[in-house]
């Protein structure tokens, strides 16, 4: 009788620990292969950034999404990339401007040519005084305009992502967003380093309702932080 009691307690505790490890400690967004290889050996990476994820569990959190190799939009920020490869990145940016906390990050760093190309699409805020970008290559973005940045500190890559105008009405509210909503397109290229895991993050304080805008999605892998799994 006692043996049964002790065994049952032990089994229950082991089960609880297993739940703890699987559902809490190891809980992480999936790692996806994202690089679509080109014939010249370079790769394409397509991202989108949305102002509100729109779905459970955090519908109003900003988030990155990535297009995986099969062309589907996936909600994860852990991306597999090939090592020592030139990667052409296209970012579709659906979120409105917030501005930088440290204007140093207005500089484009670490890309090929030191610039990124910016384009507005469907941005109806034309009367708002916002400059209209049309494949414009910039090395420094005006600090009030970024909605997010894509920064990989380990390889010194940082690209500010221009936001849509705050006056725009055609705003996407649920990810993944289709191109018919107002968005900006940012294109740049960079060379991946050797194998390893490199963290990346956004540096624009856009976490709604959090202190200094840096809590919530800004501190959660799967939204505004992630890893480049370079192999």
């Amino acid at each position: 009788m006692r043996i049964l009691g002790v065994a049952a307690t032990l089994a229950a505790l082991v089960a609880l620990v297993a739940v703890y490890v699987v559902y809490f400690l190891e809980a992480s967004p999936a790692t996806v292969s994202t690089a679509v290889m080109n014939s010249d050996g370079s790769a394409n990476l397509t991202l989108q950034v949305v102002g509100a994820y729109g779905k459970h569990p955090f519908p109003d959190w900003v988030s990155y999404l990535v297009k995986d190799t099969s062309g589907e939009w996936r909600h994860t920020t852990i991306w597999k990339l090939p090592a020592h490869t030139l990667v052409h990145v296209t970012v579709y940016q659906f979120d409105s401007q917030t501005g930088l906390r440290n204007n140093f990050l207005a500089q484009v760093r670490g890309t090929v040519g030191g610039t990124a190309t910016y384009t507005d699409t469907g941005n109806t805020g034309k009367g708002s005084g916002l400059p209209v970008y049309n494949n414009t290559a910039l090395s420094v973005l005006p600090p009030a305009e970024p909605a997010h940045t894509f920064t990989v500190p380990g390889i010194d890559l940082s690209v500010p992502l221009v936001g849509i105008s705050n006056a725009t009405e055609n705003v996407c509210g649920v990810a993944p967003c289709s191109m018919k909503y107002a968005h900006t397109t940012i294109a740049f290229s960079f060379r991946t380093p050797g194998a390893g895991s490199y963290r990346w993050q956004c540096f624009v304080p856009c976490a709604f309702a959090f202190l200094y805008g840096f809590g919530g999605p800004m501190q959660t892998v799967g939204y505004m932080d992630g890893l480049l799994d370079v192999t």
Partner: protein
């Protein structure tokens, strides 16, 4: 005033198991706590709906007002379910008070509000040991992550919550770790009383501690918390909802500390038996008294600081937000003003246990009793004057640093006095190395290393290298785990035969001791080097140079975990299966708690004893400490002299 004799009536057993289920007990507490959370959370949403909507239109996890109110509601539900409101409600309704809450016998009394201090102590023992092992398991996970020098096993955010859970749970549960089980059990008996001064409050402190542990674990459901046990604002202001669990849990512990401290001080001051003068008080009781003084004075400051963070998070105050006039240094100061006495709340009971057990196995009186008491008071007093040493690098006024360096080094004097007392007791002694004695001897070895590393940290120049690094980690693990936990283990092996009436297996105990001692030192000593070589705390990414060292430490830590499993096996085997009846005084102690029968009756003493001497009369021809008068002869405890 207690009556000198009590008529022994057979107590009615409390009906069947089903009857016990229907009365107030912990199951009701859990149910009502959940109900309380839901109701208060809903209420919070209604009250603060506008603020919440402004803050989180889409339903994020930042409904802090609702979550905090919900947690407070669960506290009310918990207390209601256990029956803590019954007495005040009864009195308000004009009903006469009963001397017992009901359910004073039978197995159910361990699962509800029981006013027998021995039952509360056993409840405390199970609860604190449970959370100790949960936090220890978290430590095993931490060491597993640290076997790789990049963050590979657990995502970074989860790792930080792991670190925070381990630290907070260990510190909060071990603050109650001695004062709860051993303090509550021993203090009334050692002073010759039948009960604590406030039995219901005693039970409340225990149940609040249990609730605090579960509230802390609820942080995993709310997204975890990134601040570690020190809860530094403004990161605490910025964190996700999991930190609300940390705040409420720590608040509960703070309240519990104040109440348990109050209870012990009042008990010792008012309920001592005739003849128990201040210089006959066992040194363990002095340890409890000094710990209680610290608890009563320091914990309210913590509660205030926690409330300030709750305000910052819920009603948008800016206590710690410097751009709006607040200051992060304010949190640092308030927290460490509590935090430093807190670590002495952890250390002093260890001193008390060791100095209490040493005379029994050295068969000599406690050497320098008055000095020991003075040392404990010195430590307690000075612990309020050193807290800025946690802030040497924080940009505090540079004038303060030499002063706090001095006071921190000064506190090593009363701490050293404890060593002198221990060594004086061992001088020319006739030592028997039983399991408790082994743990107490190891205490001196470990606490010495911990204390000496503290001197390094107190020197500002050296602190520049070691502040916030694994050196600090090794220092406090040596003092708290090497000190308090070893003493606690010694105390458990020593007093459990009396508390439960069953012996613990001594062979397993010796295996437990040796594995724990060896692997503890092998785990934590290399961490001094890791710290000096540049490894900060709370990181899962470190320099590749330190990889081998960390892998070694992790393996040693796993072995240390195995030693804990040996302890658990010993406990379960001896208490559940073997159940070998313990003798009344297996250690041949002359102390009062060993002169009463095992198992101890619920009224402790048939007749309140008259104390005739201090409990350390070894080597002297007198008998033990107490004269029970005509009722029962005192048990002779060994030959005196050579």
């Amino acid at each position: 005033m207690e009556s000198a004799t009590v008529s022994v009536q057979p107590r009615r057993s409390n009906a069947s198991a089903w009857g016990g289920l229907l009365k107030t007990n912990v199951i009701w507490a859990v149910v009502l706590a959940i109900v309380g959370y839901i109701v208060a959370h809903w209420l919070g949403g209604k009250i603060a709906g506008n603020i919440a909507a402004e803050q989180n239109p889409g339903g994020t996890d930042q409904a802090d007002i609702a979550i905090l109110l919900g947690l407070f509601g669960s506290i009310v539900g918990w207390m209601l379910g256990l029956g803590f409101f019954n007495y005040p409600l009864k009195r308000m309704l004009g009903r006469p008070p009963s001397l017992h809450e009901g359910g004073e016998s039978g197995a159910w009394r361990y699962f509800r509000l029981c006013t027998d201090h021995k039952v509360v102590a056993m409840q405390y023992l199970v609860a604190t040991l449970f959370f100790f092992f949960v936090a220890g398991l978290n430590a095993m996970f931490i060491r597993t992550e640290l076997t790789s020098h990049n963050a590979t096993l657990f995502p970074s955010g989860n790792y930080l919550t792991l670190v925070g859970l381990h630290g907070t749970m260990m510190l909060t549960m071990m603050s109650a770790g001695v004062i709860g089980p051993l303090g509550n059990w021993l203090v009334p008996i050692m002073i010759g009383a039948r009960r604590m001064a406030f039995p219901r409050i005693e039970s409340l402190t225990m149940w609040l501690t249990v609730l605090a542990g579960f509230v802390l674990l609820s942080a995993t459901l709310l997204g975890g918390f990134p601040t570690g046990w020190t809860g530094y604002a403004p990161l605490a202001d910025q964190a996700r909802a999991g930190i609300d669990s940390y705040l409420v849990s720590f608040l509960l512990i703070g309240i519990s500390l104040v109440l348990v401290g109050l209870n012990i001080i009042v008990t010792v001051v008012t309920l001592r038996a005739p003849g128990m003068s201040w210089n006959r008080l066992p040194i363990f009781v002095w340890g409890m008294v000094t710990t209680s003084i610290l608890a009563v004075l320091a914990a309210p400051v913590l509660a205030a600081a926690l409330f300030m963070v709750m305000c910052d998070r819920s009603i948008e105050s800016t206590f710690f937000v410097s751009s709006s006039g607040g200051s992060p240094l304010l949190w640092d100061e308030l927290f460490w003003f509590f935090g430093h006495p807190e670590v002495y709340i952890l250390a002093l009971p260890g001193f008390g246990i060791v100095l209490e057990i040493l005379p029994v196995f050295a068969r000599k009186p406690l050497w320098g009793y008055r000095l020991a008491v003075a040392g404990m008071f010195g430590v307690a007093l000075m612990s309020f004057m050193v807290w800025q040493h946690h802030l040497f690098m924080s940009g505090i006024n540079a004038n303060l640093r030499p002063f706090y360096m001095f006071t921190t080094e000064l506190i090593s004097i009363p701490t050293g006095v404890i060593f002198l007392n221990g060594f004086g007791t061992l001088w020319k002694a006739k030592i028997r190395f039983t399991v408790p004695m082994l743990f107490c001897t190891a205490f001196f070895f470990n606490f010495l290393i911990g204390g000496l590393s503290g001197v390094f940290l107190s020197d500002v120049t050296s602190d520049v290298v070691t502040h916030g690094s694994f050196f600090v980690m090794a220092h406090f693990h040596y003092t708290i785990m090497g000190g308090l936990v070893f003493a606690l283990m010694g105390g458990i092996y020593y007093w459990l035969p009396k508390m439960t009436g069953f012996n613990l297996n001594q062979t397993l105990g010796k295996i437990h001791f040796w594995t724990m001692f060896v692997f503890f030192n092998l785990t934590f000593f290399p961490l001094f080097a890791a710290g000096m070589l540049g490894m900060p705390r709370r990181v899962s990414t470190y320099n590749a140079d330190l990889h081998t060292l960390n892998v070694f430490v992790s393996i040693m830590a796993f072995c240390l975990g195995l030693s804990m499993i040996i302890f658990i096996v010993n406990l379960v085997w001896s208490m559940v299966f073997k159940r070998e009846r313990a003798a009344e005084n297996p250690w041949h102690s002359k102390s009062l708690e060993w002169q009463i029968p095992t198992p101890v009756p619920s009224y402790n003493f048939e007749e309140i004893p008259t104390i005739t001497g201090d409990p350390y009369g070894y080597g002297l021809p007198e008998g033990p400490v107490v004269d029970f008068g005509r009722r029962r002869p005192a048990v002779a405890a060994g030959k005196a002299g050579a």
